[in-house]
């Protein structure tokens, strides 16, 4: 954990760091670093494992409520038998997943078949290391943190390929190829939407990026990147690309009916299947965490008056809001076909992200403009964002559109 002037902050803010120091203070100096990092690993895993359990429940509850039905609420607490509005549902799912038989097809490549979920989970957990959860809660202080995040994320494609190839099944290999095509074609807009943030913040380290977003305009409006024209466009591109990277709703290829079964997850059952889902949810959390850090001002409070609420509280609130939007979109949109999906990436998101780079550059160059010029600056940046969006949008949806019908 990075050492910050912790004592100047209110108690609640210093609590996690103080707790950690309390646990490891009796250790000799040389061992303390190791103990601190181990403790933060345990903390990350405990927090995100329970968040994964609650997310599966929240997803089914929100989906249910959107569809005017209660969602799971019958699973009783073990041995107590009381129904807790579905809170015991993740417990029940976990036990079910653990006790289900883990079938490995005879022709499968046993080593890779086992390694795929492990690798996928390992890479997605690696990405949690550089997200600043609070003022002093940054697990690893890296200078090139953003690059590290996407380096770890990029390796997940290897794991998906392993899963598809090792199952020795025609459909899962075909599906793995498709999932890879989707991941690779959406990695470009994801990275390109990050570059403007790094350009404006001038650094790749996540803690510095969040520091940059710490000021408030006229004391009320937070200076988060999302409230600038290029930031808003960048956030939308990042969000769409994050949806695709974590195989979420409009892009969830594996469950698509055209995949005939379950895509590259076909030959997995029992705990390995649960691992795949845990990796998917971790990926979702990590990407939304990075989205919050880069665009929504990380752990910054929206208005200075609310700064008494601890910083990790704000980060959690924004993270949960973003995850809610993930689920909300899953409940609403139909699925895109594989060719439409890749066309959306290459012909729409990538050009928009490139143009967004220019808007960000213009934004940085014109930071000196004041008074009426500031208004002109917003105007120019706004047109630089909206213009290509409307032009490319019309080209993308050429030939589609609501129709009028005649009556006999």
């Amino acid at each position: 954990m990075s050492a910050h002037p912790a004592n100047a902050l209110p108690l609640l803010e210093r609590l996690p760091v103080a707790l950690r120091d309390a646990c490891t203070s009796w250790l000799p100096e040389s061992w303390r670093w190791l103990a601190n990092s181990l403790l933060s690993i345990v903390a990350i895993f405990v927090v995100f494992a329970t968040l994964f359990a609650l997310l599966t429940l929240a997803e089914r509850k929100i989906l249910g409520r959107v569809q005017n039905r209660p969602g799971p609420n019958r699973a009783p607490l073990p041995f107590l038998g009381i129904r807790t509005y579905g809170l015991a549902q993740p417990l029940a799912d976990g036990i079910k997943m653990l006790t289900k038989e883990d079938i490995v097809p005879r022709g499968a490549d046993r080593v890779l078949h086992f390694l795929a979920p492990v690798a996928l989970l390992a890479f997605s957990i690696l990405t949690f290391a550089v997200i600043p959860y609070g003022r002093a809660l940054l697990p690893v202080e890296l200078d090139a943190a953003v690059l590290y995040f996407f380096a770890a994320g990029a390796a997940t494609e290897l794991a998906i390929f392993m899963a598809g190839w090792a199952s020795r099944n025609k459909y899962s290999l075909l599906a793995a190829m498709r999932a890879l095509a989707q991941l690779i074609s959406y990695e470009l807009p994801l990275l390109l939407s990050i570059v403007p943030v790094v350009l404006v913040a001038g650094s790749l380290s996540t803690s510095e990026i969040v520091e940059q977003q710490g000021t408030w305009l006229f004391g009320v409006f937070p200076q988060w990147h999302v409230f600038t024209p290029w930031g808003f466009a960048g956030f939308l591109i990042f969000f769409v690309a994050a949806l695709a990277e974590s195989n979420r709703s409009p892009f969830d290829l594996p469950e698509a009916e055209s995949e005939l079964i379950a895509g590259h997850l076909t030959e997995y059952s029992g705990f390995k299947y649960a691992l795949f889902f845990m990796a998917e949810y971790f990926g979702m959390c990590a990407l939304s965490g990075m989205g919050v850090t880069l665009f929504l001002g990380g752990w910054q409070a929206p208005i200075p008056a609310l700064a008494f609420i601890p910083s990790y509280g704000w980060f959690a609130a924004k993270l949960l809001a973003l995850l809610f939007v993930f689920m909300w979109i899953r409940a609403t949109f139909p699925r895109l076909r594989i060719d439409q999906l890749t066309r959306l990436a290459w012909k729409f998101l990538v050009p928009l992200a490139l143009v967004n780079l220019f808007t960000a550059a213009f934004w940085v160059l014109s930071s000196g403009w004041a008074g009426p010029l500031a208004f002109a600056r917003w105007l120019v940046a706004g047109t630089l964002v909206l213009g290509p969006f409307l032009v490319l949008g019309r080209r993308l949806s050429a030939g589609l559109g609501p129709r009028t019908y005649r009556y006999a």
Binding site: Q67, S249, E257, L400, R403, A408
Partner: protein, 391 residues
């Protein structure tokens, strides 16, 4: 339409060329069997799809898994005894099946039908049309991938209609309500008030539903221009109902035959221009709005009087020898019953004209050149119910 390879005969969707040979350079074709337990084939229906990469090269529908020997059964049961079996044909729309069968027997035995019964039959048929089209919209969206939301909204509205049917005929889906010469149960004023309330509220539900679906760009991308059916092919294949009208062919039995008291009601028949999946979906939504208008008019001026003809003969009916063909505009198309009587209590020949079976014959022509994901959506837009396809 240029079609490379042996399948020159089949007319693939315009602009796509389809090859059907295992040419080594392009890799071999993938033979995939979708169903009969496939999650999105609307019952036990199987599609033997030959894929060239992603595009469908050949599609052989395989069905018969739900064949229950319906027509032979009809020949060994009395005329009245076959009535409950017609509920099981297209198990989503039992009221319209009953009406078509009752119409055929009335033509055979020449029994008149009182006015109130005719109005009731129209009300129930239009309610069934609402129910079926709402279900279709839900299933179609489920095929394109929404995780159940539109389907749940569709089923929520469908339950209200089914409650009305249950309160009237005793069973939600197996109504067995029509008799030769009229109806079986007279609706109470309370029932009529509930029906009026439902019909008035249905417009609001349709607006909300269209807001969720019709403008949705992803749905437009998935359905517009997909599964195009040429009007001439549709007419030659004998397709009827919304599928035919989506290709722009103006053929609606309610206007053509004018059976029942339909000429008394003022309603319009929507026609599509492109004949693709989006048109088939929109035609059904517009038809629902027309059905609401018919229902409002019918409920407003429902006459009093008997619901069955005084001299109506149901049990032990022995119509004079002859034949009759009664057909109505069911929600899926023209459903008809062809009966030959030899004077005995059982029909000599009992034949059903199933609209979804006949509409299914053009499935391959629509799916050629499309992708696998589209084949499922096109099947959804044809709106088949396996009870009627297999009989």
């Amino acid at each position: 339409m240029s079609a490379a390879g042996e399948l020159a005969g089949l007319s693939a969707a315009p602009g796509t060329t389809v090859r059907a040979v295992n040419d080594p350079f392009h890799g071999d074709l993938l033979e995939v069997s979708m169903g009969p337990h496939h999650p999105s084939t609307h019952g036990v229906f199987r599609m033997m799809v030959t894929l060239d990469g992603e595009t469908v090269v050949k599609l052989k529908p395989v069905f018969g898994y739900l064949h229950r020997n319906h027509e032979k059964l009809g020949e060994n049961t009395t005329y009245l005894g076959s009535m409950p079996y017609t509920d099981r044909l297209d198990y989503l729309n039992s009221m319209t099946n009953n009406w078509a069968y009752a119409l055929a027997v009335e033509k055979l035995s020449g029994q008149p039908v009182p006015e109130r019964a005719e109005y009731l039959r129209i009300i129930l048929a239009e309610l069934t049309r609402l129910l079926n089209h709402t279900c279709l919209a839900g299933f179609l969206l489920q095929d394109t991938g929404c995780s159940g939301t539109p389907l749940m909204y569709a089923f929520r509205e469908r339950e209200h209609i089914l409650d009305l049917f249950e309160a009237l005929s005793g069973s939600r889906m197996m109504c067995n309500y029509q008799r030769f010469g009229g109806c079986r149960v007279d609706p109470t004023p309370g029932w009529l008030a509930a029906a009026a309330r439902l019909v008035d509220g249905y417009g609001r539900f349709l607006d909300e539903y269209e807001a969720l679906i019709t403008g949705n760009e992803i749905l437009m991308a998935r359905t517009q221009g997909v599964g195009v059916l040429q009007p001439d092919l549709a007419v030659n294949a004998g397709a009827t109902g919304p599928m035919l009208r989506a290709c722009g062919v103006d053929y609606d039995l309610r206007k053509v035959d004018g059976y029942g008291f339909y000429p008394r009601f003022e309603f319009r028949v929507p026609l599509g221009d492109h004949g693709d999946t989006y048109d088939r979906y929109m035609i059904r939504v517009l038809e629902m709005r027309e059905s609401i208008r018919i229902l409002q008019q019918a409920l407003r001026d429902l006459p009093a009087g008997p619901i069955i003809d005084a001299k109506a003969k149901n049990r032990g009916l022995r119509p004079k020898a002859g034949e009759a063909y009664g057909r109505i505009e069911g929600p899926k198309g023209e459903i008809g019953f062809y009966l030959i009587s030899d004077g005995g209590p059982n029909p000599y020949r009992y034949r059903v004209r199933p609209p979804s079976f006949i509409n299914l014959t053009v499935l391959e022509d629509m799916c050629l050149g499309q992708t696998v994901a589209d084949a499922v959506v096109i099947l959804g837009s044809v709106d088949i119910v396996l009870g009627e396809v297999d009989r």
